[in-house]
């Protein structure tokens, strides 16, 4: 499965449409949705077992945040240069509504703050996307630095 993209090639070769593999983003989306749902439930149930709302909310928020950061980070690393820079955002945004706990606003911490419905879903989404942004941060300095601002801007594109 591939995706046509018009991204420019920094090699200077003639501009051509290149194919981006969709299998990895799709798998990451599904995996993220399933894992986030499971970890959110595990965090909540731990709070239930301890009869502690605070513990449940904090634990599930940490677990889900960790899952999101890791999933997006792995997507970015495994996707390499072939992966469009916007793809992690799309993966995170699509995975969020696929998590069953999202439907009730109980994925992260907003529901535990007393927020209901759309408000809880919205606040959790904002935190979710922040975690996705964290996952996009490179784990090591990008070696593709030439020192020339004009070239570097092309590299970062």
């Amino acid at each position: 499965m591939t995706w046509e993209t018009g991204a420019s090639d920094i090699s200077g070769a003639p501009s051509t449409h290149r194919r981006v593999p969709l299998a990895l983003p799709l798998l990451t989306t599904l995996g993220l949705a399933v894992a986030a749902g499971v970890f959110s439930l595990v965090g909540s149930l731990t709070g239930v077992a301890a009869t502690s709302l605070t513990l449940g909310v904090v634990l599930r928020t940490l677990l889900v945040a960790l899952v999101v950061v890791l999933a997006i980070h792995m997507l970015r690393v495994r996707g390499g240069r072939e992966l469009p820079r916007w793809m992690p955002w799309v993966v995170a945004a699509v995975a969020y509504p696929l998590v069953p706990t999202t439907w009730g606003g109980d994925t992260m911490f907003a529901g535990g703050l007393g927020l209901d419905g759309p408000a809880a879903i919205g606040v959790d989404l904002a935190v979710w996307m922040c975690c996705a942004a964290l996952g996009r941060v490179p784990s090591s300095p990008d070696p593709r630095v030439s020192g020339d601002p004009a070239v570097d801007s092309l590299l970062r594109r």
């Binding site: 970890f39 439930l41 595990v42 965090g43 909540s44 149930l45 731990t46 709070g47 239930v48 077992a49 301890a50 009869t51 502690s52 709302l53 605070t54 513990l55 449940g56 909310v57 904090v58 634990l59 599930r60 940490l62 677990l63 960790l66 899952v67 950061v69 890791l70 980070h73 792995m74 690393v77 390499g80 069953p100 706990t101 439907w103 009730g104 109980d106 529901g111 535990g112 784990s139 090591s140 070696p143």
Partner: protein, 439 residues
């Protein structure tokens, strides 16, 4: 070569992340499986101290308060049944309050309540799921209520026979509350969470309360909007043995309303003060009506409307009075009286039961439910001293609460039964079996 070196670092980070994730997951699983150990609360308090929340210890630290109420008697067909002898209200660790009603058969009924343990308000159990609330500063009067249906929400009632069972119910209620807040109530995630059976499980409920659930508009449909009593479908109590009780609230206001209820015009003539009736209609598991009880409470013994409906009782003082008329529907006459009484309140059907009474204008003269109750059922009045503040009474329920680690206040709002009377066939006679404490 350069690419490989770059990814090598990235993979290490993934591995570190996975190790952390696995560690946290293991901790979570351990915490879930060792719920009886102090790990959960310890973790909770640790997290709480980090987040700056309220880090008080959970249940058992004795920081809450409670109120107690002395009890009453309940009669059914001339016999005394399990009745409330004392009540106490306690606060769970999640902030909710529950009533513990000590019953005359040695057990205790545990049910959620909206009563604030620190308030001057007293609630006294009347049996059949009903209570009378006294000393409410907001309403300034007494009222008959169905606590299980308070504030339009459903609830559940449990019966316990010792402190261990009380502790199990309290823990189960707290767990359910946490579960409600963490995963919601009616959704697939909640079903999955319930399926794991993690956390303290509630024992089998004695009864569940469901608000509404039936219509009370038949009279208005027959007579036109605005006619008849102002009636509300309060809700349904379903017991574990299949018995169902429907609660109907009606406001009786004026002679016309009284005559609708079958009160004779001469008795209804001088009654102008409004009175709120709560009627409980009980059906057996087969759907056959077995019992109708109508109850009202007044600020004092001096209410003309109550006197017109329930008859006069000379006993009692200046405190609140609870009137009750009860009729077992065993004969055709009793069933007809109950059906007419319900039709007057606009009840066309209750569950599978359809009201056979003709509620149309010009229909047959209604059979007087209260007259029938007086003749073949029971008619009682209970008088209370108005909510004095007294020390916590040392009841079994209070001791169980202490043993179960539930907070029990040392001072409480208390209501004392000052007098009781019943219709003995010719007059309202002193009910010594109740007031004398031998119920």
């Amino acid at each position: 070569m350069r690419r490989a070196g770059r990814e090598k670092g990235a993979i290490s980070l993934e591995q570190v992340g996975l190790v952390i994730l696995a560690g946290v997951l293991c901790a979570a699983v351990v915490a879930a499986l060792t719920q009886s150990t102090p790990l959960g609360p310890t973790l909770s308090r640790a997290v709480c101290s980090i987040t700056g929340g309220d880090c008080d210890s959970p249940t058992g630290d004795g920081t809450g308060s409670a109120s107690t109420t002395a009890g009453t008697c309940t009669v059914g067909n001339g016999r005394t049944v399990a009745s409330t002898t004392a009540s106490a209200v306690t606060t769970l660790s999640d902030g909710r309050t529950v009533r513990v009603d000590e019953l005359s058969d040695g057990s205790a009924r545990v049910s959620p309540t909206s009563l604030d343990p620190g308030s001057e308000v007293s609630e006294v159990g009347l049996g059949n799921g009903m209570t009378v609330r006294m000393g409410d500063e907001q309403s300034g009067s007494v009222a008959v209520e169905v606590p299980g249906l308070a504030e339009g929400a459903g609830s559940t009632e449990y019966v316990v026979t010792d402190a261990d069972q009380l502790r199990a119910v309290a823990s189960g209620l707290e767990t359910e509350q946490v579960k409600d807040e963490l995963v919601g109530r009616d959704n697939p995630v909640r079903s999955a969470a319930d399926g794991t059976r993690i956390g303290d499980q509630l024992p089998e409920a004695e009864a569940t309360y469901t608000p509404g659930g039936f219509s009370v508009s038949a009279r208005e449909e027959a007579l036109g909007e605005g006619s008849g009593l102002a009636t509300t479908a309060l809700g349904i109590r379903t017991q574990d043995n299949g018995t169902q009780t429907f609660y109907i609230g009606s406001r009786v206001d004026g002679a016309e309303d009284l005559e609708l209820l079958g009160v004779s015009p001469d008795r209804a003539a001088d009654a102008s003060d409004p009175l709120d009736l709560v009627t409980a209609v009980t059906f057996d598991p087969q759907g056959t009506m077995v019992d109708v009880t109508s109850t009202a409470a007044t600020d004092t013994a001096d209410s003309r409307t109550a006197e017109a409906i329930f008859g006069h009782s000379a006993s009692g003082g200046a405190g609140p009075r609870v009137h009750s008329a009860r009729l077992a529907t065993e004969s055709e006459g009793q069933s007809a009286a109950a059906a007419d009484f319900l039709a007057a309140q606009g009840v066309g059907s209750l569950g599978s039961w359809t009201n056979p009474s003709d509620a149309s204008p010009g229909g047959p003269e209604p059979t007087g439910f209260f007259d029938e109750a007086r003749d073949s059922g029971s008619l009682t009045t209970l008088d209370y001293d108005a909510a004095p503040e007294t020390p916590h009474v040392d009841t079994d329920a209070g001791q169980w609460m202490t043993e179960a680690g539930l907070p029990v206040g040392d001072r409480a709002s208390d209501a004392t039964l000052a007098g009781a009377a019943y219709w003995d066939g010719s007059t309202m006679a002193p009910w010594t079996g109740c007031h004398g404490g031998s119920a």
